[in-house]
């Protein structure tokens, strides 16, 4: 089994500064995983919002297609698109709010990473129920 190394540990005495290494060998704390997930969900949200802008264009500029788009959202692909996009956006929003509160030192005693995961789990279940019911 490969030995887990800390990020700041030098690779060898000849190269005392940390260098780019295999990310899967690093042992990240939970906060780091939440932060990585915040970035990934942010990128998914960007794609979701840009595709949403295309739908908004059709919605505003083509009144005749209004019912078709409502129908798209009630179909499986529309629901899947909405569910994936809103799930990412919800996580990005919650994790971002946590970052903001931590920076302003508001409610630090409640901002444990496990609380974020619990809150997200509950909100995600509600969102999934609302999208798929």
């Amino acid at each position: 089994m490969a030995k887990k190394r800390l990020m700041a540990e030098p690779v060898s005495p000849e190269t005392p500064r940390p260098v780019w290494r295999e990310w899967y060998q690093f042992h990240f704390p939970l906060n780091a995983w939440l932060s990585i997930a915040h970035r990934i969900c942010g990128l998914i949200s960007v794609i979701f919002l840009l595709s949403g802008l295309v739908i908004l264009n059709v919605w505003i500029l083509s009144p005749l297609h209004f019912a078709e788009i409502v129908g798209f959202w009630q179909g499986i692909w529309g629901r899947l698109w909405l569910w994936l996009g809103l799930s990412a956006l919800l996580y990005h929003w919650l994790a971002g709010l946590r970052h903001l509160l931590m920076e302003h030192e508001i409610g630090l005693e409640f901002l444990h990473p496990s609380l974020l995961l619990k809150l997200y789990g509950i909100a995600w279940l509600l969102l999934s129920w609302e999208v798929w019911r």
């Binding site: 942010g42 960007v46 505003i60 929003w93 903001l100």
Partner: protein, 117 residues
């Protein structure tokens, strides 16, 4: 030229606060007042109390997206060995956001003319 990430960081934080407040408010409103027809949709979007905060938030959303994706590109492209593509990637992203801003302005003009009819 003195380069600092502080300005981008501040814009990212201020836009994040605006989005943190706007999104749940908009979701709560849409849950109470669902949009079930085109007329209702146009009426809601063109109402000043909805339109003005939404335009402000959309402008801040563009700023938030610019800084967020810019940071991702700056962090990962050089680390993956594609540093020489950084300025090209940033330029493409700036053009995309410029087109989005232009499209939003066009939608705004169209919406206002539809609402007047």
């Amino acid at each position: 030229m003195r380069v600092s990430g502080l300005k981008a960081y501040r814009w990212q934080r201020w836009s994040a606060w605006a989005l943190a407040v706007y999104f749940p408010t908009a979701v709560a409103y849409l849950a109470i007042q669902p949009v079930d027809s085109y007329e209702r949709f146009v009426q809601m979007l063109s109402a000043p109390w909805f339109l003005i905060p939404t335009l402000l938030v959309l402008a801040l959303l563009l700023v938030h997206m610019w800084v967020g994706v810019r940071d991702v590109l700056m962090d990962y492209l050089p680390a993956l060995g594609y540093g020489r593509w950084l300025y090209a990637a940033l330029s493409v992203w700036a053009v995309v956001l410029g087109l989005v801003a232009a499209d939003l302005l066009y939608l705004l003009a169209s919406l206002l003319s539809i609402a007047r009819l």
